[in-house]
């Protein structure tokens, strides 16, 4: 499974990345978590950062950030 956090590097993007890593760890799933900061890449998917991309599909965009439970749920559905 491939998970990408889209964001130029602001505070919220870091928070989301941390939550995603935590979720992956707690779920015990094999997943590659990657952070995308390149504006060209981000713009392909969304204007509202931070964005969460799971297997190429946009699952969340903007604020408020999804909670840890919500992130887990989003990942579980795709797993």
């Amino acid at each position: 499974m491939e998970i990408k956090v889209l964001g130029p590097g602001c505070y919220n993007c870091q928070l989301l990345e941390e939550n995603v890593k935590k979720a992956v760890k707690e779920l015990g799933i094999e997943a590659k978590v990657e952070k995308i900061t390149d504006m060209f890449e981000i713009m392909k998917y969304t204007m509202s950062t931070p964005g969460l991309l799971i297997n190429g599909k946009l699952k969340h965009a903007g604020r408020p950030l999804p909670t840890l439970d919500k992130v887990k749920e989003l990942i579980r559905v795709e797993a």
């Binding site: 130029p8 602001c10 204007m47 604020r63």
Partner: protein, 316 residues
Amino acid sequence: MLKDFSAYLIYNVMNLDRSSRLSDVLDFFVYETIKIFILLTIIIFVVSIIRSYFPPERTKKILSHKKLFMGNISAALLGIVTPFCSCSAVPLFIGFIEAGVPLGVTISFLISSPMVNEVAVVLLWGLFGWKITAIYISTGLLVAIFGGVVIGKLRLEKWVEEYVFKIHIEQRHEIIKQTFKDRLQYAKENTTDIVKRVWLFILIAIGIGGFIHGYVPQDFLVQYAGPQNPFAVPVAVLLGVPLYSNAAGIIPIVYALMEKGLSMGTVLAFMMAVTALSLPEIIILRKVLKIPLLGVFVGIMTATIIAVGYLFNAIL
């Protein structure tokens, strides 16, 4: 009712002397805090539901290829309801331009979005009443429309970073589908999120406000910054431009300043300068705008806000 509760708490429960300054300050603090937090929760919740219908992707579509002027009016209005945080200003700007939203219209949106929002509305309403709130919103919109129209008329696209025009979005951005229940959930989360982020600022600001309210003499500021001082407005605006604060942090302080003799126009101009223009935002916008355009942007905004300040001082 709230006033009675606050007074009861301070004079009966805490048994403080009615005429003491400390009790005066506490009364102000307790009353304002309760009132503002109640307003804040209700209004943010309602606005969040409205917001959920206007994600930036939809706003972009609405504004795409809009004409100057009508487009600027729509952009300024949509700026109120579209969720925006300064860290997504750059992707938003690129997305708008890529979708064919004219530069001037995009600028109107960028001005209105941070300046006119629900937190500003709540605090103004709570502390100054609905009339001042209505005046602030309408002039905020006017400033946004005017700034965008001027930049649009000047045709400054050459001062936008070239890479912005090279970005092409092949696949259409999808808008994540929501049921009404999802929207309620979003509103709940958004309200919690915003209250969590601003409560401390508000408490500190009301605290400072309460202190000034109780301990600084009534007309302390009149001699320096009263209505008859022609420099009060420009000085307030120039001080406000580099400052960074959201509406939550600045309004209670502004309230206290006004109580001590600063005139309404000066106060509103100061608040607009603080929320609409800030050093961090200018630095973020530098990623998409070249320095001359940034200069024009800041210059127009500063001049317009100063004009608004004078206007209010003259009519209010």
